[in-house]
């Protein structure tokens, strides 16, 4: 049978850096299948899909839909051919509502002239209903969790009646539960006869969701496989050429003085019914990795902001080496020597237009002042070169960091933050969007930091990560701590059990199950069954 989609000998060179992102790539996808496109960072996956979606034009090669050749000059054309794409970085308008974002460009009209908002919300509500998403069409994007934003992107495609759905690294920003929900949706859609191309780094996911797999490496197709025929280890070999496993030596040091401790910390914002952080108390000690997890929207990012001094606290105290830092600004905290790897690498973690050099000295440029009050260029240079070499960053000191790959950007941030750790590091979602090799590199760094005796706070919605390296797990639900246990506590620590805490079905700190959790029950039951095992 002829494939639904056939991309033939696609070659693409980016003029900006004369880089051959795709080299005579061939891709075949059949109707109704879920096709996984895997490969390391920079392998060329996004590029290939951008070409399919009309965002980039190939230098050579052809695209066939149902056997007939098509030229896809722009996303508009892609839409006409029933192709939709969810990008690695969402393209939503924050101040618009879900419905408004979905219908943008295809708005329903009243009287041939006016935008019919009611109609829009109704239609969107239907689409949401059909595919049992959990979204309110009237909600503003700015109020949504990352997972929900992604649902909006998918609804956008469905609203446009797309038959071929492209999802670029949809899971890298999702929590366990959100991933499960997404996969359920994808299976449902595939069942409806839609064709799905899924880009991901996570081999477990590939196994659990896809029918067929195309593996890319360095811009070329390394292999095409029926999912049933390969196991993760072969896949990882095809991708990187070496085996990867997620278990580390967690030799715990024998030190444990508390470094940072939060006491009844509560953070509320004006006109918001419940506090974003509700009476949070825990402490992180030397040689300890405290892993904090939870479903997005339950206080992870708020906790990140509070600890890093970027968000004010309403009540409670934060002690850092017994100094009260509760009301310190980010600036003052920095002076105390606190290191922090933020969730948002592109806006907060780095200045994309600035050079690697300038990005590396933001926290400590004061150390490079000459007697004349100038910055000591030579010392900075040698220092930066050291870090670039030490962290195998592929890029020159003078390059705008924006032209680096996501992984390399993250490396620059790590280099900057870990280069002189005093006794506390805050990591937030450190491996988002990174491939296995990249993630492993970062885990190593985190463990090194602990080995050197520092306290580590690891805020992450990636359970594998928490389980792999944390010593203590804390689960946040609706801004409250609902679980806090050492990782060795095998009684609870299966990912499914933790999931129940994340959904608010369990709570070690109050007998009653919080109101509102009821709605989750049946879903949780379904998902409980579908957790995959590695």
């Amino acid at each position: 049978m002829t494939p639904y989609l056939k991309m033939q000998n696609i070659t693409k060179v980016y003029p900006a850096n004369n880089l051959k992102a795709n080299d005579t790539v061939n891709l075949e996808v059949f109707k109704g299948e879920i096709h996984a496109l895997v490969g390391e960072n920079g392998a060329g996956k996004t590029t290939l899909m951008n070409i399919l979606y009309g965002l980039e034009q190939p230098d050579s090669g052809a695209i066939y839909l149902n056997g007939t050749e098509v030229r896809i000059g722009s996303p508009m054309v892609a839409h006409q051919h029933g192709i939709g794409m969810v990008h690695q970085h969402f393209k939503l308008i924050q101040e618009f509502t879900v419905a408004e974002n979905v219908v943008l460009g295809m708005e329903p009209l009243r009287g041939k002239l006016f935008f019919d908002r009611r109609q829009a919300e109704q239609t969107v509500a239907e689409v949401i209903e059909e595919n049992n998403f959990h979204l309110s069409p009237a909600a503003r994007i700015s109020e949504l969790s990352v997972g929900q934003m992604q649902q909006v992107e998918i609804v956008k495609m469905l609203y446009r009646r797309a038959d071929l759905l492209i999802l670029d690294e949809p899971t890298s920003v999702l929590t366990e539960q959100e991933i499960q929900r997404l996969f359920k949706t994808l299976r449902y859609l595939a069942g409806q006869g839609k064709t799905i191309i899924l880009i991901t780094h996570k081999l477990g996911e590939v196994k659990s969701i896809s029918d067929r797999i195309t593996v890319m490496r360095k811009g070329e197709v390394a292999a095409v496989r029926e999912t049933a025929e390969v196991d993760e280890y072969e896949l990882s070999r095809l991708m990187v050429g070496k085996r990867i496993m997620l278990d580390f030596d967690k030799e715990v040091g024998f030190c444990s003085e508390p470094i940072l401790s939060l006491q009844q910390v509560t953070a509320a914002r004006k006109h918001q019914d419940r506090p974003l952080l509700d009476n949070i108390s825990f402490s992180a000690s030397t040689c300890e990795i405290v892993g904090i997890t939870g479903v997005a929207g339950n206080g992870l990012s708020e906790l990140e902001d509070v600890i890093s001094g970027l968000m004010p606290v309403s009540s409670g105290t934060i002690l850092y080496n017994d100094i009260d830092v509760t009301h310190m600004s980010a600036m003052e905290l920095r002076k105390t020597g606190f290191s922090y790897v933020p969730t948002d690498r592109l806006k907060r973690g780095s200045s994309l237009a600035s050079s690697i050099r300038e990005n590396m000295i933001i926290t400590n440029h004061h150390d490079y002042l000459t007697r004349g009050g100038l910055l000591d260029g030579k010392r900075i240079e040698s220092h930066v070169e050291e870090l670039i070499a030490g962290y195998q960053i592929d890029g020159r000191a003078g390059m705008p960091i924006g032209t680096l790959s996501g992984g390399n950007i993250q490396k620059v941030i790590l280099a900057r933050e870990l280069e002189k750790v005093r006794d506390l590091v805050l990591f937030a979602e450190p491996t988002w969007g990174l491939d296995v090799a990249g993630s492993e590199f970062i885990y190593q760094k985190i463990l090194d930091v602990r080995k050197r005796g520092a306290a580590v706070i690891l805020i992450s919605s990636n359970l594998d990560e928490i389980l792999a390296i944390a010593d203590t797990v804390i689960v946040l639900y609706r801004g409250r701590i609902v679980m806090k246990r050492p990782v060795r506590d095998d009684a609870v620590l299966s990912r499914e059990r933790i999931g129940e805490y994340m959904l608010g079905l369990k709570d070690d700190f109050s007998a009653a199950i919080p109101a509102g959790a009821g709605g989750f029950l049946e879903r949780a039951a379904e998902e409980g069954g579908e957790g995959y095992s590695r």
Partner: protein, 303 residues
């Protein structure tokens, strides 16, 4: 204006003073929402002022004059937009360029068409029709606000409502705002942000054309540089008005009132004229600071 018993001239004059800011401001709002700072308003007004009266004189018809004047202004705006969008030039500096060009062009044309760079006086031009409902003029304030003004003033009022509908009730306005806040999203939706920015620029050409027409058709004459800063005030008014049509209406009124007051004050206060001329700007900046204080206090601030 045959002012009724209770007529308050200051209010009545405020309206005629504010209309050019209002119109230009509404147009500028469109580009502002599309994410472009349009400092070309000043030049656009001048172009509108020149061509509307010249065409009115040539055709002998006010309506044709206004119409052709507006079209010319939009053409001028299009050039400004094309350079900015298609040649990807810095919008601020192309704006300055547009203003320079407007000044140079009008003078040069004036010289080659009429042999003077000075005032162009057009005899026998009908003056703008004025809406009179004597019965209603007497109503305090309302009467002065609504009646006894020339028709273009009502275009001003109308533009506020139309703009409001366009921006909040039509797909166009919806996409226009989208373009301003995240062009990528617009692109991903298969639309071209550039088109909406250009549309915004053309609309500002339209309204600035009208604003200019008021200035000259009121006089039946063109005076070089007659826009004298109104485009800049319009820019102020856009921000002061919180980038909404009705906000702009309010802000224009505030500035217009300040200006009107200062005109009257000159007759009564015994302080140097210069200080009184400065008064509208002082009032406006004060208003602006107060507004931002209130915003700041209510919205609060992270540390």
């Amino acid at each position: 204006m045959n002012s009724g018993e209770f007529s308050i001239p200051i209010i009545h004059n405020t309206v005629s003073i504010m209309t050019p800011f209002l119109l230009a401001g509404i147009g500028g709002l469109m580009t502002e929402l599309a994410g472009m700072l349009n400092i070309a308003l000043e030049g656009l007004i001048l172009i509108g002022a020149f061509f509307s009266v010249v065409f009115a004189a040539y055709t002998g018809s006010l309506m044709l004059g206004i119409l052709l004047g507006i079209l010319t202004t939009m053409l001028f705006a299009y050039i400004f937009g094309a350079v900015t969008l298609y040649l990807k030039a810095n919008v601020f500096i192309t704006g300055l360029a547009a203003n320079l060009l407007a000044g140079g062009l009008t003078t040069v044309l004036s010289f080659y068409l009429f042999g003077t760079k000075g005032v162009l006086r057009f005899e026998g031009l009908p003056s703008l029709p004025v809406l009179r409902i004597p019965a209603l003029h007497g109503i305090p304030v309302i009467g002065d606000l609504l009646f006894g003004h020339n028709i273009l003033v009502y275009f001003g009022w109308a533009s506020v409502l139309l703009a409001w509908i366009l921006i909040y009730k039509t797909p166009f306005g919806f996409r226009l705002r989208g373009t301003g806040s995240n062009p990528e999203a617009i692109e991903a939706a298969g639309l071209k942000p550039g088109n909406y920015q250009m549309a915004g620029i053309l609309i500002s050409g339209l309204t600035c054309g009208l604003a200019g027409a008021i200035l000259t058709l009121n006089l039946g004459a063109y005076v070089p540089n007659i826009s004298s800063g109104r485009g800049w005030i319009a820019l102020v008014v856009i921000y002061l008005g919180g980038r909404t049509p009705f906000g702009i209406l309010g802000a224009s009124f505030v500035f217009g009132l300040a200006e009107s007051l200062s005109n009257y004050a000159q007759g009564y206060l015994d302080i140097p004229a210069d200080f009184i001329l400065a008064f509208p700007y002082i009032i406006t900046v004060t208003a602006m600071v107060i507004v931002s204080i209130i915003k700041y206090k209510t919205q609060g601030d992270s540390k």
